[in-house]
Every structure is written in structure tokens, then in C-alpha cells.
């Protein structure tokens, strides 16, 4: 039996208001599932379902209020395993005074990558992301799409075993989306894992193996994408959006 890349057992998260401690929001209510090595896995669900909170717990950005979370079979308090994780933040705000090259060298340094290999890797990544000609420009002059491509490059710096992407399609043009698909396919073919949060359901249907649907902090569906694309009653093909609409309507 292989060790799961990410494992959530009865994970709960309660946010408390800093001023009024009694005022709480239950973001996650006992979520349990595993992400296996080599799969492309999507976390889906309406806004405020707890998807990003779950990612943050996995990455050590947020503390769970209960349950057990493991990264590569080890407790999330062990930070060493983060050296095998690449993370692309959903609402990236890189320091505008850094150039693309400086930024990748700066973040890469914290991943424990030696400077010599960073110097070789950074230009190659920028080339691949179509940013080679802007490598020496401050990020403040970049468009939203360019910042997203830079964020993707940043997440790939350490050749991660687990690539975590939070809303990766946002702000990307068609070419960049195709590039993202290509990168995800590469990860899969190399036996690496991709865990993503997205609202772009068509693309999720095309690239993901399994999905977990969260609704109001609870796991509402866990399984393959293919079963969702066929109506269980009629057997007819349907879109992922149609398949998931009942989950989204539970909120209205």
C-alpha cells in the first residue's frame, strides 16, 4: 500500500473572531479523504465551502481545530516535507520592486535549492512561461496574467512531488492555459501529484482524475470525474457543471 501524498482524517477548522471570541465560523466539519501519488485531484465546491482552508492546513498556513492531517505520511508539523511541495497562491501579490529573476531566486533560496542550480533553472523556467524578455523588469509592471505565470514558475522551482494550485486558471489567456495543462500532464506522466482548487469546471473535467466536492465545510462527493460525466438515471453524457449543480443549489 502506497503512502498517500495528502491525508485528511476528520479535519475540522473553526475560525474565531479576534475581538469577539464567541463569534465563530465553522469552515471545515470533519473532512476525511486521501490524495494518492500520481493523481490529478481537484477540490471543488461553491464559495466559502472550505476548499482553500483545507489547502492552507495541508501547507501549514493554517492550524486545524481538530482531526489529523498528513503530508507524505508525516505530520504537517514536520516542515521538511514542504521541500517536496510547490504552491501557487490564488491571489498572488508578489513584491512589485523585485524583478522576475530576483523573485524566483529569492523564493527558490527558501526551498533549499543551491544558488548554482537556481541560476541555471530560473532562465529556463522564465523561457518556458514566456517571460524571458521581461526577466529584468520589476513585477509592478506585469499584468495579472504575467504574475500568474510567474507564480506558476515559482511553484515549479523545486521540481515538486506535490503541486498545489489555488485557482490557477484565473487571469490566464488561452496560451497560458494550454501551457498549464501541459505542465499538469507532465507532472502526471512523471508520477507526481497535482492538487488544485478551481471553479473552471470544464477544465477540471478534462484534466483531473478524481474530485472532492465540499459544501459548507463537509465532504459532499469524493470519487472519479468520469462517473460524474454520465447521468446515473439515463446514462447520458452531461457536463461537470450539470453534475455538480445539485451541490451548489443546496446553498440557495
Amino acid at each position: 500500500m502506497t503512502t498517500p501524498v495528502a491525508e485528511f482524517v476528520d479535519v475540522a477548522k473553526i475560525y474565531r473572531s479576534p475581538l469577539r471570541r464567541r463569534r465563530t465560523v465553522e469552515a471545515l466539519k470533519g473532512v476525511s479523504f486521501r490524495v494518492e501519488p500520481g493523481e490529478v485531484f481537484a477540490l471543488l465546491g461553491p464559495n466559502r465551502a472550505g476548499k482553500t482552508t483545507l489547502l492552507k492546513i495541508l501547507l501549514g498556513l493554517s492550524r486545524p481545530s481538530g482531526g489529523d492531517t498528513r503530508r507524505f505520511g508525516r505530520s504537517i508539523s514536520s516542515r521538511e516535507t514542504l521541500s517536496s511541495v510547490g504552491y501557487m497562491h490564488g491571489n498572488q501579490a508578489f513584491p512589485g520592486y523585485l524583478t522576475a529573476t530576483c523573485l524566483l531566486e529569492f523564493y527558490g533560496g527558501f526551498s533549499g535549492i543551491p544558488q548554482r542550480s537556481l541560476r541555471a533553472k530560473v532562465p529556463a523556467l522564465l523561457e518556458r512561461m514566456g517571460l524571458a524578455d521581461r526577466a529584468r523588469e520589476p513585477i509592478a509592471r506585469f499584468s495579472k496574467g504575467m504574475v500568474q505565470r510567474l507564480a506558476l514558475a515559482q511553484s515549479l522551482l523545486n521540481d515538486p512531488e506535490l503541486l498545489v494550485l489555488d485557482e490557477p486558471m484565473e487571469g490566464l489567456d488561452l496560451n497560458a492555459r494550454l501551457l498549464l495543462h501541459e505542465i499538469i500532464e507532465e507532472q502526471r506522466s512523471e508520477g507526481k501529484t497535482v492538487l488544485l482548487v478551481s471553479h473552471a469546471l470544464e477544465e477540471v473535467a478534462r484534466i483531473c482524475d478524481r474530485v472532492a466536492v465540499l459544501v459548507e465545510g463537509r465532504l459532499a462527493y469524493l470519487g472519479g470525474v468520469d462517473p460524474l460525466l454520465h447521468d446515473p438515471a439515463t446514462g447520458e453524457e452531461r457536463s461537470l457543471q450539470d453534475a455538480l449543480s445539485p451541490f451548489y443549489h443546496t446553498l440557495t
Binding site: 498556513l61 514542504l82 521541500s83 513584491p95 529569492f106 533560496g109 527558501f110 543551491p114 507564480a151
Partner: protein
């Protein structure tokens, strides 16, 4: 696991802080202040001075303006009398801003240089410079801790403590460099023009940096809890003012205890507040004594009260300031560890 050298975390953060300071124009502003003061030092000219025969020789002044108003010939007559009595009178002059400002000078040029260095260290760098540095660097931490950029860093295999402490020391390194540039360049400027090289002036580099370290520690705590530049600016300036108040209150309470006009409980309370807060008056006194400023200025009453306290010790004052900076940093680190991103 990749083994990291000890300074592997600090060096990129120092580089980032210097880039941040350049991009925000803070480096340029600090260097401008240093350049203006250095040019002012290079514009100093001293003439008509005589060296003291020994270091402790007392400098006497002949009667000047008030008497000469009543009797316009008094000063001249006095000069003549002094000469006939075998007293050598000195008519020295120091000019600033390439001769635009001039003032009469005491006997030895080293005194004048010493006087200027005391003003530069205590007045310009110690008060005005410290406040400017606190205000200008207040935005460094809040922007560093912005979730949009900090989340990616926190998701790296590095502890939050190292990140925060590294950033704190990188800001100290930046301010330390600026303080060193200010002190060394003004020292060189004055030295080149006057040939007086008083190395005690250089002691104000660590003393000023220590003061900044403790006040910036509070700014870091505010940054971690609020992530707001405005809160850091106003909070740290308020903390600075409050520390002056506490330090002053404690010293005066001790001074007045002997006259029994202050109750013992008040003295105890102000004493407790004194030990757990920064001590800008102590720091100013240490700087005053280090620079031997008593030679040029009368020691303020608050300094005399402070020195008369049995519990006063410069070493204890510096150590408690260092401990306070460490405690503020430890609380900030704890708070940063507990924060959800």
C-alpha cells in the same frame, strides 16, 4: 534533506530589505540626510585657535557683550589689560556652511569639533534620525507579512520564527548601515577639515542601533498583530513618546522621594515600569557620558537625578534594553506562529 549554512535564511532577507528600501525611496532619503550633514561637516572652518597645554586645563572666558554695551571700550581695555598681565587671549572663530554662519570659538579646536559631534550624535541622529528611521521602516514588515506574498514563503520548508527574526535583523542591518554611514562620514568630514580625529564619536553607532532595535521590536509586534503600516507608524512613535514619559517619571519620582513629596508606592510603580520599558533617557545619558558632552553642555537635571539613583547602572540599563528587545521579538514570533494565513 539539504543542509543549509547558518546565514542561508538571513542573507536573502537582507538583500530583499535593501531592495525594498531602494524601491520605496527610503535609502535615498536617509542617504540625503547623511549627505547634507557630511557636506555641513566639510564646510566647517576653524581659525585663530590655540591648543590646550594639557587635557584638563580649564578654559576661561573674558567678559564680553553685556559689559561692552555699557562701556564700548571695556572688551578692548580688558584685552589690553590681559596682555599687560601676561595672559594670552584667544580670538578663535568657527564657520559653518562655507562661511555663511560663524560663531566665536573656545580655545581649542577639538572642543568645537566635540561640540559639533555631540549635536550630530545626540540631536540629529539620536532624536530626529531615530524617529525618522522608525517611521520610514514601519512599512517593511506589514508589506512582508501581506498574505499574498507571505503565504508562499510560509509554505516553504523554513520555520516562521526564522522568517520573522531574519526580517527583523535584516531591517536592523539596513538601519545599522545607514547609522554607520552617517556617523563615519560626518566624522571623516569633520576630521578632514579640522584634523581632529575623536574616535569616541564612533561609539554612538552601537548605542543608536540598540535604541532602534528595541523600538523597532515594538513595531514588529504591531506589524504581526495588525499588518497595518499606519498602526506601525503611529504605534511605534507613541511607544517612543510613552517610553520617554515612563523613564522621565521614574527618574523624577526617585529624585523627589527624598523630599517625601512622592509616596513610596508611586516610586515602586514607576520603578517597575522603568525596568520593563525602553529607557531613552538612560540611553541619552550613556551617549552624553560616552561623548563627554558635559565638557560643552551643562548636564540636565534629569541626568543628574538618574545618576544619583543607587540602582542606576549603564550596564544594567543596556542589558535590560536588550532583554526587552528579545522579549518583544519572542512575543511577535509566538503571535506570528499562531496566525492563520
Amino acid at each position: 534533506m539539504i543542509a543549509r549554512p547558518r546565514f542561508a535564511v538571513l542573507l536573502p532577507l537582507v538583500g530583499d530589505t535593501f531592495r525594498q528600501a531602494n524601491a520605496s525611496g527610503i535609502s535615498a532619503m536617509m542617504l540625503t540626510v547623511t549627505a547634507i550633514c557630511t557636506i555641513l561637516c566639510l564646510s566647517v572652518n576653524i581659525s585663530g585657535d590655540i591648543s590646550l597645554q594639557d587635557k584638563d586645563e580649564t578654559v576661561y572666558f573674558l567678559p564680553t557683550a553685556p559689559e561692552s554695551k555699557a562701556n564700548p571700550n571695556y572688551a578692548v581695555a580688558d584685552q589690553a589689560k590681559a596682555k599687560s598681565d601676561g595672559i594670552e587671549t584667544v580670538r578663535g572663530k568657527a564657520t559653518l556652511a562655507f562661511g555663511l554662519m560663524s560663531f566665536p570659538m573656545s580655545r581649542e579646536r577639538a572642543d568645537t569639533v566635540h561640540f559639533l559631534e555631540t549635536i550630530l550624535a545626540g540631536g540629529i541622529a539620536g532624536t530626529f534620525g531615530l524617529l525618522l528611521a522608525l517611521v520610514w521602516t514601519a512599512g517593511f514588515l506589514p508589506s512582508f507579512l501581506d498574505p499574498g506574498s507571505a503565504s508562499v514563503l510560509i509554505a516553504k520548508p523554513i520555520s516562521r520564527q526564522k522568517l520573522l527574526v531574519g526580517k527583523y535583523f535584516s531591517v536592523l542591518a539596513f538601519v545599522g548601515l545607514q547609522v554607520a554611514l552617517f556617523v563615519v562620514l560626518t566624522w571623516l568630514g569633520l576630521g578632514i577639515r579640522t584634523k581632529v580625529w575623536d574616535a569616541t564619536y564612533l561609539w554612538c553607532i552601537p548605542l543608536l542601533l540598540l535604541q532602534f532595535a528595541v523600538f523597532y521590536g515594538f513595531s514588529v509586534l504591531l506589524a504581526v498583530t495588525t499588518r497595518s503600516t499606519v498602526a506601525c507608524v503611529f504605534g511605534s512613535v507613541l511607544f517612543w513618546l510613552m517610553s520617554w514619559g515612563i523613564n522621565y517619571g521614574s527618574v523624577m519620582a526617585h529624585g523627589l522621594r527624598e523630599s517625601k513629596s512622592v509616596p513610596g508606592a508611586t516610586v515602586m510603580l514607576t520603578d517597575a515600569a522603568y525596568w520593563i520599558s525602553p529607557k531613552p533617557i538612560d540611553a541619552a545619558l550613556i551617549l552624553f557620558n560616552t561623548l563627554d558632552a558635559g565638557h560643552d553642555f551643562e548636564k540636565p537635571a534629569v541626568f543628574r537625578f538618574l545618576e544619583s539613583r543607587k540602582s542606576y547602572s549603564p550596564t544594567a540599563s543596556i542589558l535590560s534594553t536588550l532583554i526587552l528587545a528579545a522579549v518583544l521579538l519572542a512575543i511577535s514570533t509566538y503571535e506570528f506562529n499562531e496566525t492563520d494565513y
